[in-house]
Structure formats: structure tokens, C-alpha cells
Subunit: 247 residues, 2 copies
């Protein structure tokens, strides 16, 4: 499986994903599930993917082709996607990715129906901001439609989301500072890593402050990362202490 | 859905279940999911159920009939279950319940195949102790087979188990005192209640100390229960404080 979480607070956006993919428990691999694009000072976008890896990769290829074709000034055919780097809004960006998702699945629908009891669907989290708009965060479904994070639900999760939800439910609001949101994302991931084998290190972390149109942090957190290990240990100790003290 | 958790520590067993059942989100009801039997000083048994309610109730009826028939000295037919109150071991008790589970599902299998895309399966947690044996805790599958809690995995969960697993993974070992195990069960439930609508108050709690062959606590915890609310609030505060202090 996968665990990806996106948080939207007043100060900006935080994105965190794991890198484990598996087909059964005996076929485990490591794939990047977080992808970013920037036009510095104008727009910054982050996409995270869960679900069918072939579908996710095909969607990414279509997005990349759309960007490259437009950048090269190539006349694009009916099948080509508009570039997400020149889309007039985050909403339109989510639409374009949704269209790519449906396009890919349509291509393989018959084969899936005939040959497979698998699922060709993927789910994605898109977040970012462009000049003239606010930071926005979307969850895009396999059907291509999407929902948006808002005041009442300032975070979105895909994949193995249940283990890491209680901590977010408790601490995250729009008023949470960006650094705290970053910490909450890491602790939410830590709970998931401890309780579910199908989610695994390393992690990809990206932080996008509001109105910066550029990432303040883009890190791969390796299993031996001292900072993450310290945070994880401190949280375990703090949780056990908290557990001991209450009655 | 449902959330039930059973914990086995050196000092005894703790059982906690919610009471919400639902068929879709617009058909919510309250049903007891925890059932207990005692022969004081000789044996004490607890059964918790998740999954298809009709199957769970039919299994319980069969168990009750088996107990009553044997108690009345009635000659039981081929279909009747042996009494779980005179079973020679906890292992045999788990087998009997597994047999009841298969019996019920066989009866409705054809109808389910023809008419329904629902699932007739149920999953159960059985725990208890009888004179001459140790406390034991089992998870019984719809197929009638079962696994047992052991040193490395001293708790078993059924239903919506993911939200409440991280806290148990962190604090529960066989050496956890019984009172702490009780607290951990309640906090695991609290996390689940907050994050998942399909799990709901009131709760049923039963504590069985080792070698007591009688329950030290059997409580229904109502939504307005001051003790549970205080524990829940204290845990929220402690978690938020812990979250603030670590870095």
C-alpha cells in the first residue's frame, strides 16, 4: 500500500509520502510517490499518488508530455493534455489531472475486465498555489472528480490512512503553525509505519509556505535519518509518559 | 462497523466493545456485541462479535442452546453443539464456536450466493480461563479457524481496528499491569470513536483477573459517563501537550 498526507494550514501546505509499493507481500519495491513542479515566483505544485502504480505512472507521463509539448510550442493533438504549469487555476489543474486519470483507465478498462480482478484505479493528492490564487489542496478520485480540503477538514490522506488519522484529528486546524503541521505529518506517518508493514521508509517531504511560490523544504528522509528517528523516539516516550500520567 | 479489542497480560484479560451496528449510514442501531458466561470459581468466558449481525446472533443462539440442553440433561441431536461451559479447554471452546460459525453460514450460503452481494461472515474474539488452564485469548475467523494471542502479540482486535492500533502497539506487553491494560483499551477505543462514525458509544467493558474465574468488572459505559469522558479529555490534553513539547 501507501500512505500520503497533505495538510493545509493558514501558513501553507505540507506534503508527506512513503515510498513502498507492493504486489502481495513478496513483491516489494520502492517508488517515488511525490512529484513536484515549480515556476519560481509564479506557481508551485505537488502531486502524490496511491493505488495502481501503472495508472499513476501513465498519468504522470501524460502530465509531463502536456507540459513539454506546450513549452516546446508543439501543436498538441486532441489526446494531449494542457500544461498544468499554465493552467489558469488550481481547480483547473485538478481537472486536468482527473482527465488524465480517466484517459488512462479507459485505455485499459477492457483488459482489466477480461483478465484481472485487480483494480486499475489510483487516487491522488494535488496541492499548490499560483500567483493570484490561494493555496489549495485536492484529493482526486479514480473517476477523475475531486474534493478539496477546507476549514473543517484541513488535511487529506490517501492509502493506509486510518492509523495516522487520530493524531491529525486531534492537533490539526487551519491555525496550526506550518512547523507544527510538518511535525504532525511526520508523527502521523510514524504511527502508520509502526503499525503497517505495507508502508515503508524512506519518506518524501515537501513544504510550501503561503505566497512563496517555491518550496521551503524538499527532503528525502532515509531510514537512518537522525532527525526523524529522534522525533519518533521522542514521540514514543512522550506517548508512554502521557499514558502513564493520565488516569 | 464495530470495534472490539481483547488484551491479554500476565495479570489477566481485558475486553472492550462498542455497540453500534449499521447497514449503510442511514440504518444505525445499538446492539450488544459482548457476551459473558461464568461458572464462578471454575470458569469465566467472554465473546465479542463483529461482522454480519444475523450470523453473530445465530451463533449465540446455538451456543446458548448447547449450554441449556446440556444443563437440562436433554439428549442432543447431531446438530447440537456441546456446552461451552463444560468444554475441557479454552481451545475446545474456540473450536465449538468456530463450528457454530460454519454451521450458520452453511445454512444461508446458497441464499447469499443467489441474492446478495453482502457478506455473511462474522469474526469473534473469545477469551477466558478455566480451572486448570491459563487465561487464553482467541480470534475466530468466519471459516471457523482461529489464532491465539501470545507473548509477541498480546492483543487482538476485530472490526475497525486500525485507528486504535498505534497506541496498543506502543504501550501493551504481557508485563503491562491489568489496570494499565484497561486504560489502554479505553484509549484505543477513544481514538477509534473520534475518527470513525461507524463505531459508537455506549461501550461494554469486562475485566477478568488471572486465576479469579470471575469478572472483577463488568460495566456498560454510557456516553455521559464521567470517568470515560475525563479519561478521554485527559488523553487529548496529554497528547496535545506531548505534541507541543517534542521537536
Amino acid at each position: 500500500m501507501t500512505y500520503c498526507v497533505g495538510l493545509m494550514v493558514n501558513e501553507g501546505l505540507v506534503f508527506l509520502s512513503d515510498t513502498r509499493t507492493n504486489a502481495g507481500v513478496d513483491n516489494i519495491a520502492r517508488y517515488r510517490k511525490m512529484f513536484t513542479w515549480t515556476t519560481p515566483g509564479e506557481r508551485a505544485l505537488v502531486l502524490m499518488t496511491a493505488g495502481n502504480l501503472a495508472t499513476s505512472q501513465a498519468v504522470l507521463s501524460l502530465i509531463t508530455e502536456g507540459i513539454e509539448a506546450e513549452a516546446a510550442g508543439v501543436e498538441t493533438g486532441e489526446e494531449a493534455l494542457p500544461s498544468i504549469l499554465t493552467a489558469p487555476s488550481m481547480f483547473r489543474t485538478a481537472e486536468i489531472i482527473g482527465e488524465a486519470m480517466v484517459m488512462v483507465q479507459n485505455k485499459y478498462r477492457r483488459a482489466f475486465e477480461q483478465m484481472s480482478n485487480g483494480n486499475s484505479g489510483a487516487t491522488m493528492i494535488l496541492g499548490g498555489q499560483r500567483q493570484g490564487g490561494a493555496p489549495r489542496l485536492f484529493l482526486i478520485y479514480p473517476e477523475g472528480n475531486f474534493i478539496e480540503a477546507a476549514e473543517d477538514t484541513p488535511f487529506l490522506q490517501i492509502g493506509e490512512h486510518k492509523y495516522g488519522k487520530p493524531i491529525l484529528d486531534r492537533v490539526i486546524t487551519m491555525r496550526t503553525p506550518l512547523a507544527e503541521a510538518r511535525k504532525a505529518a511526520l508523527l502521523s506517518m510514524d504511527s502508520t509505519l509502526r503499525s503497517n508493514l505495507s508502508v515503508g521508509m524512506p519518506l518524501d517531504l515537501t513544504v510550501l509556505p503561503r505566497d512563496a511560490y517555491a518550496f521551503s523544504e524538499q527532503t528525502r528522509i532515509e531510514p537512518e535519518d537522525a532527525g526523524f528517528r529522534q522525533l519518533s523516539d521522542a514521540w514514543s516516550t512522550a506517548l508512554r509518559d502521557a499514558f502513564q500520567t493520565i488516569s
